[in-house]
Amino acid sequence: MAEHPEASQQEEQPGDPSPELFDPKTMRKSKPGFKRLFLTISVLLSFLSGVPFFLKSIEIYRSPIPFTEMDTLSNSIDSHPLIFSCRFHVVFVDFDSREVSVDKLAFSVLENMRKLSSSENVCGSCGNNYSVSVTIESGGDCKESGDVEAAKLWKCGRIKEGNLEEMLKDDERFDEYLNEVLGGDEEGSGKVYRVVVVSKDEEIRAVVGKNRHAWIVGRVSEVDEAVEMVAEVFVKFFVNGGTRNGSIHSEFMPVGADGRIVLSFNLLNADPRDWVYDWNFQEIDEILLAPIIRTLAPLANISTESQVLYHTPMSSFANWDKEKESYIFRTKDLPFFVNSNEWHLDTSIAAGGRSNILQFVVYVPSANECPLMLQLPNGEISMTNGFISPMWGGVVVWNPPRCARDSGGSHLRKKISPQDLEKVFEVFLGQLRQIFGLNSGSLYHDASTTFTLLSTGKGFTEWEMDFLSRQHTCYNLLQCGTTLGSLSRLVQSLPRMIIKDEIGKQVKFSLEAAKVARSNASYGISDASAVSSREARILAEDAFFHPSMMSVSYYSFEHCFAVYSPFFLPVSMHIILAVLREFRRYKQESAKHRAWRVIDSRNA
């Protein structure tokens, strides 16, 4: 910038006190102007005023995520295992009510139950605080105790209306009778598990029904003995679901992360040159599978598929056994049975990315390994000829009748007979239950007693479904908690990663669903809590696995700097330098002016 030449062209003015004292280099007569300073500062200010807008425009959009809530949820799920409230009711029929008091009976049932159940609080169990109520019916009398609400649901005296003797002969009929006539209205208030003890002069029998009833019939002379058996029924079946320790291991939780299971049924013809078998899958799907899928609806959204495959040999070896006149494969060959190279089972197009596919395979052996039997380690031949692999599915080996020796040409397509197909599907049903962690025998042998378990066309009895719902609620909430915890840690560790709105919404709904599930659990409504816990887990997994959260593409600070500095750095450097220079100049000029003023005032 050109220097103002005013200092050098200062004219002699009349009245100037001492021209020789005036030094144009260090003094000036007039005040320095503001124009230049004002100009440069205004340019700088306009840049600075644009900075907030600029920062807003390059702001990383992060949808607000409730980190504290997510962490509290995962902590509380870990520290306070979920406990359901269960109610139990015992009915003693034809007992002498003068001998024992109802309250004492309730107390002793409770004591026995506490002895049988484990001391620690297993997640998804009924806890230790059981609520037990007892009713004694004898003659026309009816005494009640304990939790009066549960006892009130039992309509006193109605059991005598029907012909008890007749009905006790047929288990199924008695179960129906108990459920329809005597079950009462159970809507909305949670479910009650009931055992009816009938004293008769015959062998003791204990039967567990299809709904939530069980009965013990026989020479139950000692009340203590009856109480023990009742407590066993309550704890072993209604609380623990028929499993040994009342909790299901995580490898028996086949529901996929999006709450769906695909059941894929495959008929494998090992060598179609020997024989080709087909099946009528449609019919058995409608008759057998549809009710089961409806029953399992609170736990998972299930769909079915089926296919028939050819040229699918197994990859293990079988030896001819002369005694049993069949080819034998052993349990140690089972891990190598599934020949994944030739068995193209994974052809599902309907299954989503996070669903779980369970493969159910019917293996029809070829002529040179027919009949094929499975031998157990103790030497016996297996009744079912099948095995499962947890989380994968199950295999059943079906041998053609008489190895198709008598029938005609091998090029005819034969159909598996309906009876055989039914038997195979019953084994599949047993395998499905095994994959869910339940046993399938109709008799349960204990140290002292043998319990008969009734089976139902729906595949799972009500008390089994209650147990599964409780366990699945527990598992889903645990998974939801850990997933949300991981998500919160991930999002907080990457402050510059974009978080979309969708993720925030999914987290919010997941937290709400988890809350609903826990409140339902405290009321004892196990199927509603299973549904909402499944929702919570699905939403948490969707939020965590959202495809937009790829840390490779997040906007690091170095990247941001490298992109924007070529635009702003050179210009801002110039502007700031100009401001500084003008400021310095202004200071200098005003110092000069002050110096002149001093001299002027001294002289004047």
Partner: protein, 391 residues
């Protein structure tokens, strides 16, 4: 944004809540992710490496559905390939690696660092098919094999991108957080391979690289017929080890790791075991390279049809049950429909009431077509009559 105190608290909580799950979960299945990060003809040996390992892992039992194979796949049908559709890993040409049943999941330009991380972390778009996803669970053992050109703390992807060691460590950390594996074995066959896993911190990870920092990894031999080197030394000696094994064998990982001779490899095969809890002598190689299914015998079937002779009755019972359910569903939906119809509220606007009644009647009409036809006929008739009248 958060105060440092809260951050400290959260850090404490984080370290507190980390559950030790690797001891309690069971080993359920094995997965293999095999990645070849090079393309172009002169990198023939990298693709041969990956395909050889693919073949080995399949032979030892891991099925295609549990193998993710990422290859640039431009060798077999390359214009410079003297043996079209054939890929060899030895100059004796005894084995055609591309022969039968090779299922490549990510090929060509799909092999990118982004896709690689999506596979590892499971964050795919919803349309990605199951065969391209790593569907492991918390009991899976994963074998991750990477080969190509690499350097200090990086691996070159398809000649245009880089995979950094801290990105890999981050991905493994997220996998562990989400419990996508029980144990992970990383094998890297590149130059300065050991630097790629130097930043790993997650427990349960075992890693072996073909060379240390500052060393190169060399190819094994040149096939003068094909014209390029066909296999790398590290992979060659790994395959030699596995050719001696079969599906029932139980050699340990320690024997594999100590079988590498630095003189033959011309580099030091460095492995890190500080993040891995088990002793290498006790871990069989089939824990990672083979596949053993856990099987349980089915003791009993579930008898839904108890009486065999009255099968027809049983089917009828079941059918009736299902029909009952259906009827119940239908009636409940009918009731819902009826209650959803607008009811005529007495006293309110009579016009609305009349209109509602008309609407209801109109909705109940089944034969709309006939009425419309009748309407047209009426119009036509009226037009004819009036035009005749006005004549």
């Amino acid at each position: 944004m958060k105060s440092p105190l809260v951050l400290m608290l959260m850090l404490l909580l984080y370290t507190h809540i980390q559950p030790t799950q690797s001891s309690t979960t069971m080993h359920t299945n094995n997965w293999a992710v095999l990645v070849c990060t090079s393309r172009f003809w002169f990198n023939y040996r990298h693709m041969a490496n990956t395909l050889s390992l693919y073949r080995t892992v399949k032979r030892l039992g891991i099925p295609d559905e549990r193998i993710i194979l990422m290859l640039a796949d431009d060798m077999a049908c390359n214009a410079r390939n003297k043996y079209p559709a054939q890929v060899f890993n030895n100059e004796n040409h005894m084995l055609n690696l591309y022969g039968d049943n090779v299922e490549v999941d990510y090929r060509g330009y799909e092999v990118t660092t982004e896709n690689f991380f999506r596979v590892l972390m499971g964050r795919h778009e919803s349309a990605v098919p199951r065969s391209k996803r790593l569907l492991s669970d918390e009991g899976s053992h994963i074998l991750l094999y990477m080969t190509g050109h690499g350097g200090d703390e990086f691996l070159k992807f398809q000649d245009s991108e880089e995979l950094q060691s801290h990105d890999l460590a981050d991905a493994v950390k997220q996998m562990k957080e989400k419990r996508r594996f029980k144990e992970l074995l990383i094998m890297v066959d590149t130059c300065q391979a050991a630097t790629l896993f130097s930043q790993l911190q997650s427990p349960g990870v075992l890693a072996i690289g073909s060379s240390k920092k500052g060393e190169n990894s060399y190819s094994h031999h040149l096939d003068s017929d094909v014209g390029v080197s066909v296999v790398d030394r590290f992979t060659y000696y790994t395959l030699a080890f596995f050719e001696r094994l079969n599906i029932y064998a139980n050699a340990s990982l320690n024997s594999l790791f100590t079988s590498y001779n630095p003189n033959y490899l011309m580099s030091t095969a460095y492995y890190r075991t500080d993040l891995y809890q088990r002793k290498l002598e006790e871990v069989p190689v089939t824990n990672f390279f083979g596949s053993v299914m856990e099987t349980i015998h089915t003791d009993s079937a579930y008898n839904v049809f108890p009486m065999k002779d009255s099968r027809a009755n049983n089917i009828k019972i079941l059918l009736e049950q299902s029909v009952d359910d259906l009827i119940r569903n239908v009636t409940s939906s009918d009731e819902k429909q009826q209650s959803a119809e607008p009811s005529t509220i007495p006293g309110k606007c009579p016009y609305t009431n009349v209109w509602n009644v008309i609407n209801k009647r109109m909705e109940k009409i089944k034969d709309v077509d006939n009425i419309v036809n009748g309407g047209f006929a009426l119009i036509f008739l009226t037009a004819v009559i009036f035009s005749w009248l006005t004549q």
